[in-house]
């Protein structure tokens, strides 16, 4: 093992080690945040689809007489 480095030289190594940890954490959190924002966008999209479906209910089925006529044709 080498003799202990002086503070001014050791400081940059210690700072680099802690910055690496911080950077890893920040990159991970940033990636997760982008995934969460994608999920949020999808939630908004799905909510819009649900609203549209609620606003335009599907047309009711034709009465039985009409259905029989269509079948005969």
């Amino acid at each position: 093992m080498l003799p202990a480095l002086p503070l001014d030289e050791a400081g940059k190594y210690v700072a680099a080690a802690y910055l690496v940890f911080l950077l890893l954490l920040l990159v991970y959190v940033a990636i997760m945040a982008s995934k969460l924002s994608k999920i949020e966008r999808e939630v908004v999209e799905i909510a819009e689809v649900v609203d549209r479906k609620a606003a335009d209910p599907p047309p009711p089925p034709p009465p039985p007489a009409q259905r029989a006529k269509a079948k005969a044709r």
Partner: protein
């Protein structure tokens, strides 16, 4: 995050300077807790894999996947901070005849094959089964590897818990324990965070299929992916 911030404050304002290494020894408080949590994470991934094989519940495969994922990220941090510490202490970025460094690199490379293994299998059930077997075997290798390194006769890597020299002095030990607790809490928080994100993604995908009028479960799987499907 609060505990970890407190721990790092203790590192610089409470823990004394090491007599041998001086200020460089401060790297120990981020490097070693990361290494311990990563190694326990690998073992935890193996335990979750055992639970998956016993129950066949997908949630255990997901837990195993997320735990291993975060442990690999921490392992990257361990390798980089270890390399910086090696440069400051020994004058070299990497020392190939140092058992602890090389064994940790082997463990990291072993787990780096986890994603290609998962991605190579299209069938989701098979993927989960094979990945679980891998996680169990690799998880068992981690403590064996660590014990082997400890038993190695000639090594120069500093010990965290020395068995013959009485361990660390009080202030060093307290700072280290707080840093370890902080790192562990951070790990569990990130596991929960990622699990919640994955659950939300799959629930949304299922909802989207349902809204599109397609309730077929098989169609929920969109393309090949290394991640488990719920």
């Amino acid at each position: 995050m609060l505990v970890l911030t407190g721990a790092f404050a203790m590192v610089f304002f409470y823990a004394p300077l090491d007599a041998d290494q001086g200020f460089v020894q401060k790297i120990f408080y981020v490097h070693v807790p990361m290494a311990i949590v990563a190694l326990f994470g690998f073992v935890g991934g193996g335990i979750c894999a055992v639970m998956y094989l016993r129950t066949r519940e997908t949630k255990w495969d997901m837990r195993s996947y997320v735990t291993i994922h975060l442990s690999v990220i921490l392992a990257v941090g361990v390798l980089i901070t270890g390399s910086i510490w090696a440069r400051a202490s020994w004058g070299h970025w990497w020392v190939w005849d140092e058992p602890m460094l090389v064994s940790f690199l082997i463990v990291f490379l072993l787990y780096a094959t986890y994603w290609p293994l998962r991605f190579s299998l299209e069938d989701k059930e098979k993927q989960a089964r094979y990945a679980s077997v891998f996680a169990i075997v690799a998880g068992a290798f981690v403590p064996l590897n660590f014990t082997a390194v400890r038993m190695a006769e000639q090594y120069i890597h500093p010990e965290t818990f020395a068995t013959t020299t009485g361990g660390m002095p009080g202030k060093f030990a307290l700072t280290f324990v707080v840093a370890l607790i902080g790192m562990t809490l951070l790990f569990f928080t990130l596991v929960k965070y990622e699990m919640a994100s994955k659950h939300a993604t799959f629930r949304l995908r299922a909802l989207r299929r349902k809204l599109a009028g397609d309730d077929d479960d098989d169609l929920m799987l969109t393309g090949r992916s290394a991640a488990p499907q719920l």
